[in-house]
Amino acid sequence: MSRTLRLVWQDRRARVGLALVVLFALLAAFASVVASHDPTAQLDLVGKQYQPPSLAHPFGTDFYSRDLLSRVLHGARISLSIAVLSVAVSIVLGTAVGLAAGLAGGLVDQVLMRGVDGALAMPRLFLVLVVVALWEDIGVVGLVLILGLTSWFDTSRIVRAEVLSVKSRQFIAAARAVGLGLRGIVGRHLLPNIAGPIIVMATLGIGQMILLEAGLSYLGVGVRPPTPSWGQIIADGQQVLRTAPWVALFPGLAIVVTVLAFSLLGDGVRRALDPRSQ
Amino acid sequence: MKPLLEVRDLRTTFAGNPATRAVDGVNFTLDVGETLAIVGESGCGKTVTALSILGLIDEPGRIEPESVVEFGGVNLLTLEARELRRIRGAEIAMVFQEPATSLNPVLTVETQITETLRAHRTISRTAARARATDLLELVRIPQAAERLGAYPHELSGGMQQRVMIAIALSCEPKVLIADEPTTALDVTVQAQILELLAELQGRLGMAMLLISHDLGVVAGLADRIAVMYGGQIIEQASAAAIFERPMHPYTEALLKAVPRLDRPVTRLSAIAGSVPNAATWPDGCRFHPRCPHAWDRCRTSHPELTPTAAGDVRCWLTDEPHRRVR
């Protein structure tokens, strides 16, 4: 693993991605310290509506005269947590199902994978939309669960493929030959060898999840206000794109840069794990 | 008479950290109708040598500018891409190690044979097809006409290699480079392919550069043998001389290490240590860490390929034969 990390670090683009990811994570973690204002405070409803970017408000203010920089910073916290947590849910589920299908094989495999095919035949946004739009007031935890529960299908497929490929390698046969049990084989031999692709999927998945959450917010069914998520700030700014473009611009840029950072990092990890794809 | 093909001071390096000198100053000649075998273990540079002749080295590899591959009085390495392409496949053809991967999986046998013909000859589609059939028959593929429509995966390994040979022979090249042509095949098939190569070479009068790790494979085919080690030729002589009186300790040890049916079962004499890595050739003689005869001079100073009566050898023992340990 340390070799992989070193290779990731040697990759210029991955390094940029990693640096940005760390930066955003830090900003999110210390949002309340970095941000000059309470993200929900309406500073002056009459006098400070839609202030363009200035020294006092580098990202400007919104309809409610709230400081957008503070909102974007706190939004990072919400958006990143939702993305990271829901990806965690989906990775755990996808890995579990993929392992089960790949290891069990036969009927179990067939049934699980046809089920996954079915779920994949449904556009993910559509699936999430049905659930999120219809259930009232699901809250952030609910959103995380729903996003996670509807996005593990790809993961399970890839994990299954990886399991099948690793399973057929000789060191697994060697481990069986020395009398290692199933748990030992999975824990010591299988998982460490499929960890790479899973990490890549997780990294890239976080970016995609941020995009998905933004899309949901755009359709009006993501995180509910006044909690500031990036998608939700954009949806707010959507109304005034022409007159106050900065409201939607900065969270939009934040999304692009963050997702880009995760993609760069994910690609870097992928390259590090598979030197052929240089 | 000038040799048909002459390789002088060939050096091919691969960029990287650290950079590797896969081929490091190789010289040899190939005469009309002659078979020269290059023998060596993995990583000795024999395949890179073969590829360098036709400039088939991909990034990050690079053939050093002072290298010369002279064919028909022209240095191939300085030719323009278009001119070089006229040589490739037509004057000098190649057969590779893995027929399964060296044939394009999505094209039929016919396409893969005729495209070579059509690239070098002005020939109609039907004539090319007829010629392709002839070629398949030449390499002894049964029901040749029917096999034209087959895809590589529908053929066995031996058949695939025959198709490769047919492709290589399609323009009646003057030189055939066969890079480990039988390594991926079973022994019985290997025997057939070797016999086929020998027969075709005789019939078509072409020169052959045969590359192999297996001394047994080249024994029956080669007129001369060059043994490579560490990116260099360390011994070069007629086939008979190499097998009967190997001069270089490596050649000698290699011959002893091969299990043979024609000798009584004895303990094999192994060469200590392992094959060196192109990124870190040892100083001095590249064989010295594994050589039973090595002394100080071998560790510090690099021997040159020196002509002797029986052949060329790259070893300090030619200077100080008394150092040979008995």
Partner: protein
């Protein structure tokens, strides 16, 4: 040595299914078909065959790394194929395997030290404090520098990796080791080292080997008896010197004749003499997968390639069974000559 063989294999068969899903049609491939043989204690049996002959599958079946379709395997009197988990675990202490692909048979994410240590931990063969010493001892025994314990497989050469594989197999102190093409991926100079090592170990530890290889010349150095496999079946078994001196099955003959000799004079001589180098006009050996329907099920599998002068209609209609034609010699050919003289090796 008591009279009972250490390993007895009886009518072992394995069929692979490929393709087909919930709705698709599966194809079956007979990899191993009714194979029977036995290995005595301390004996080394060579198993030779070309790619696709089923020799590797056979090795895995014996260790129950694959599940057999039918037949039995008895190891030291214990039925391997029906053993429960505990018994199987105990068996795996006594039967081990060394693989061909030394790179693939080592977990790339594990140091070679832990790879050798793992079997001992699994079988609780040593106390934690003793483990390191034992790993070092094993390293020494197989000729590895103990400095290498913390290296990863990709940092080693092929020969070193194969030594790790051997050390791992030996770590549980087995009686019987399946050597599945242990040297075919190695360079000639290194191949000799490993072959010598295997011979030394066999002597030192009184091991029993099943030595699987495609190269007859290599087998000759390590096997007391040789079994030849073709198309999932055994076609000939004979003591090593006799097999090489006087092969009886036409396939064995072909195989022997095809081995290149590193001697220019002899090589030329042989092909001039018109020995059966395999008819170059003849078809290649059958591909790894039998083509369904390409061959009648009741024919001799070698029939299409057989150079035997006596081959006739019978070979096409009747599968020859393995029959004894001399002391310790069995052959599956209708026309093998039982009276062939047992010449001493040349």
């Amino acid at each position: 040595m008591n009279g009972q063989p250490l390993l007895a294999v009886d009518r072992l068969s394995k069929t692979f299914r490929s393709g087909g899903g919930l709705f698709g049609r599966a194809r079956t491939i007979r990899a191993v078909h009714e194979v029977s043989f036995a290995i005595a204690r301390g004996e080394s049996l060579g198993l030779v065959g070309e790619s696709g002959s089923g020799k590797t599958t056979l090795g895995r079946l014996i260790l129950r790394l694959l599940t057999a379709n039918s037949g039995t395997v008895h190891f030291d009197g214990t039925d391997v194929l029906t053993a429960d988990r505990r018994t199987l675990r105990a068996l795996r202490r006594r039967m081990q395997i060394v693989f061909q692909d030394s790179a693939g048979s080592l977990n790339p994410r594990m140091t070679i030290g832990s790879a050798v240590r793992e079997p001992m931990t699994v079988h609780r063969l040593a106390r934690r404090s003793e483990l390191d010493t034992r790993v070092r001892t094993l390293f020494g025994e197989v000729g590895l520098d103990p400095i290498l314990v913390d290296r990863y497989p990709h940092e080693l050469s092929g020969g070193q990796r194969q030594r790790v594989g051997i050390a791992r197999a030996l770590s549980v102190e087995p009686k019987f080791v399946v050597l599945d093409e242990p040297v075919s991926a190695l360079d000639v100079s290194v191949q000799a080292q490993v072959l010598n090592l295997l011979a030394d170990l066999r002597e030192r530890r009184s091991l029993t080997y099943l030595f699987i290889a495609h190269d007859l010349a290599v087998v000759r150095h390590l096997a007391d008896r040789v079994a030849v496999m073709y198309f999932g079946k055994l076609v000939e078994i004979a003591p090593t010197p006799r097999l090489f001196a006087a092969p009886t099955h036409p396939y064995t003959t072909t195989l022997l004749a095809a081995i290149p000799v590193p001697d220019p004079r002899r090589a030329r001589q042989r092909s001039m003499a018109g020995e059966p180098v395999g008819r170059s006009a003849g078809p290649d050996p059958a591909p790894a997968e039998p083509q369904p329907g390409s061959q009648p099920a009741d024919a001799c599998p070698f029939y299409p390639r057989c150079p035997h002068p006596a081959k006739d209609e019978r070979c096409r209609r009747e599968v020859p069974l393995l029959r004894e034609i001399g002391v310790g010699r069995l052959v599956a050919c209708h026309y093998a000559d039982p009276s062939a003289p047992d010449r001493p090796p040349a």
